[in-house]
């Protein structure tokens, strides 16, 4: 897993591409250099042979065959590592002068060039050496061949090749190391940015990107993105404020109306009273929607829990279950609590009670008679983090809807009309869980719904 994580990382994939391109580039450049070097070396060799032939021609014209003999004898006597080899033949093909044997086995190349192999005595050893040679008619039936061995050039080319190969390896290694450092620095920032954004997505509004280097281009990007987040939040707050204001402003007249209606109650006859009771009940529903909406807003927009009191979750869940037990009993639902050990977490007891009561309300609402609701408290080893699971045997919530039900006023289509409710219960649950630095998740219970609340 670790290796796959590394292989999948942005840095690694970038480095692989970078090394491939770098190696190809270095290989190509050094290949061109090597070819050019080899070509010019051989060209120089050829040019020098042609020059020597021209010199022989000039000498022959000026001083005839004796001059040529003298010239070659002088050249052969002078000590030189890289020297020319000569052969001058007469009309019958017999050797006149020179140090090459007559007619070695030539290979003919283009443009009148010849190549042959000849064993030379070198410090008492016989070594086969490759020669490059060119013939020329001096005139009067005399022919000259000037040859030169090119073992030194091949040796030099091999040296150059070996050097280039080492340089290439060094370049690639240095390139990888350098590229790794510079890329990992830049890409670390990108990955840091990635992590930061994921964190913001998880943690919700109010969070901003934090990058170590706020001057580089990543820093500039983070700044721009933070400005974008600011704008989004301002817009969101605007929308929320409008709905809050509506709820807030309507609450007071609605309460007054409810109060007046309840005064009216005693003055009516029984049939009218029943009708009025329904109106009052609707007023109360509306008011509780508004209150829930405002509570959610207050929890979401305010800062999260700091400190808090010690709340004993086992006792709290006992109280919740005890409160709802008669209602469950009345509906023929079995309600079971499994919280074996007292567990303390930091929080606000009233809010936590509200949260579990809302979940319980929901479960009771959707679980059919004869069903079962099970409340379970588990604590991670070491007391870090508590999980409360509420499993019911109701119809559950389709996977695709599980995120949506936390949205305000959202109700699963199939439950509209069938069950009463204003679609704020789970929004409040989520707001309270998040206020406590916790999370709430929904899962399937085969059949039914499992609500999982994680508290730190």
């Amino acid at each position: 897993m670790e290796i796959r994580a590394v292989a999948n990382s942005l840095t690694f994939r970038y480095i692989v591409k970078y090394v491939t391109v770098l190696s190809a580039t270095v290989f190509l450049l050094q290949g061109i250099f090597y070819l050019y070097f080899s070509y010019t070396s051989f060209k120089d060799l050829g040019d020098s042979v042609v020059d020597e032939l021209e010199t022989l021609q000039v000498v022959y014209r000026g001083q005839s065959l004796d001059g040529v003999k003298q010239y070659i004898a002088d050249r052969l006597a002078s000590p030189s590592v890289n020297r020319f080899y000569y052969l001058v033949t007469d009309q019958s093909g017999a050797k006149v002068t020179g140090d090459l044997p007559v007619a070695p086995r030539y290979r003919e190349f283009d443009d009148g060039w010849l190549g042959f192999e000849l064993a030379l005595q070198n410090w008492g050893e016989s070594i086969d050496v490759d020669f490059l040679a060119r013939p020329l008619d001096l005139g009067d039936g005399y022919k000259a061949i000037v040859a030169r061995d090119y073992a030194d050039i091949v040796e030099r080319a091999e040296l150059v090749f070996r050097t280039l190969f080492r340089v290439m390896i060094a370049t690639v290694i240095l390139g990888i190391v350098g590229g790794f450092f510079s890329a990992s620095r830049a890409l670390n920032q990108v990955e840091q940015l990635n992590r930061e954004i994921s964190r913001i997505v998880r943690a919700g509004p109010g969070q901003r990107l934090q990058v170590q280097d706020d001057k580089g281009y990543i820093g500039a990007l983070a700044t721009v993105m933070n400005q974008m987040l600011d704008q989004m939040e301002t817009l969101m707050q605007g929308v929320r404020r409008v709905s809050d204001n509506i709820a807030h402003d309507l609450r007071t007249p609605l309460t007054r109306m409810r109060n007046n209606l309840s005064q009216l109650h005693d003055r009516l006859v029984r049939a009218e009273q029943e009708q009025l009771d329904r109106i009052i009940a609707e007023c109360d529903d509306l008011l509780s929607s508004f209150n829930a909406l405002l509570r959610i807003s207050a929890l979401e927009s305010g800062s999260r829990l700091a400190g808090g009191h010690d709340v004993e979750l086992c006792a709290l869940l006992c109280d919740v279950v005890e409160l709802y037990e008669p209602l469950a009993h009345e509906r023929g639902i079995e309600l079971v609590l499994d919280a074996p050990h007292p567990q303390v977490c930091k929080g606000e007891a009233d809010l936590l009670f509200q949260m579990f009561a809302n979940i319980m309300d929901n479960s009771l609402k959707y679980t059919p008679p004869g069903g079962k609701i099970r409340v379970q408290l588990r604590t991670a080893v070491g007391g870090a983090g508590h999980t409360v699971r509420i499993d019911d045997s109701g119809p559950g919530i389709p996977v695709g809807e599980r995120k949506n039900v936390f949205r305000r006023f959202y109700r699963v289509e199939s439950s509209r009309g069938e069950h009463p409710g204003h679609g704020l219960g789970l929004s409040l649950v989520q707001a309270i869980a998040q206020y406590h630095h916790g999370t709430v998740e929904l899962a399937g219970n085969h059949p039914g719904l499992q609500v999982r609340v994680q508290l730190p």
Partner: protein, 229 residues
């Protein structure tokens, strides 16, 4: 019951005054904290209703200063702030009860009567026996009986009945029951309390001719002889 109302919102204030008058109570309305402080120093009231956010002296500061000079009149705080912390803070300053705006008038009336009764019949916390008509509760033995029949109650039912008996004859709202019997302040979305009350009613009223536990429409419950008779 003589009530002092300190409320800067004229409309809300006038509404509360009218309602209190209609319920047969007398009420003085002060429009800001300073006027409230003067009024409280002049006359002894049975209960005070103080708005939390007011110009000049805010509600909580007013309660603090009243408590400092030895004024022990029960206070109910009205507030638009409904946060848990706001509530705790309010009760810390010496307030006896806390009601979030907007509220149903029956809720305010019920709470004021309870506050008033607590002061007017001191020592009720020390009683060892509660009696309402032919229903009696022995607080030491935790024993309940009606006429001569013992009634067996679950612990929560016992607490519920104890609270109702201590406030016999008064309207007790569902929110008050949740706060005092269950000890939590929250909004139930369903009629959980009603189910508990009807269970209790089964046990104390079922086999007897005169019902004691009655539902008050739109408000809550009352324990005591039926008002119809």
């Amino acid at each position: 019951m003589n009530v002092l109302l300190v409320e800067d919102d004229k409309q809300v204030g006038e509404f509360i005054v009218a309602e209190l008058h209609a319920a047969g109570h007398s009420c003085v309305h002060a429009l800001d904290g300073e006027a409230g402080q003067r009024a409280a120093a002049d006359t002894a009231y049975d209960v005070m209703v103080i708005d939390r956010m007011m110009p000049r002296i805010d509600g909580l500061a007013l309660i603090k200063s009243l408590r400092e000079v030895g004024n022990q009149t029960p206070v109910l705080v009205l507030s638009a702030l409904g946060d848990v912390n706001d509530r705790v803070q309010g009760l810390h300053c010496g307030a006896d009860d806390y009601l979030v705006k907007p509220f149903a008038m029956v809720e305010l009336l019920a709470r004021l009567e309870v506050l008033h009764r607590r002061v007017s019949s001191p020592g009720s916390e020390m009683q060892t026996k509660l009696v309402v008509e032919d229903l009696s509760m022995d607080l030491l033995r935790q024993h309940v009986q009606r006429q001569d029949t013992p009634i067996h109650l679950q612990p929560r039912e016992y607490k519920l009945l104890e609270y109702l008996m201590r406030h016999a004859g008064q309207v007790v709202t569902r929110a008050m029951l949740l706060e005092h019997v269950w000890g939590y302040h929250f909004d139930p979305q369903t009629n959980v309390i009603d189910v508990h009350v009807s269970r209790l009613r089964q046990k104390i009223d079922k086999d007897f001719e005169q019902p004691l536990l009655t539902t008050v429409r739109g408000a809550g419950y009352r324990l005591g002889p039926s008002l119809d008779n």
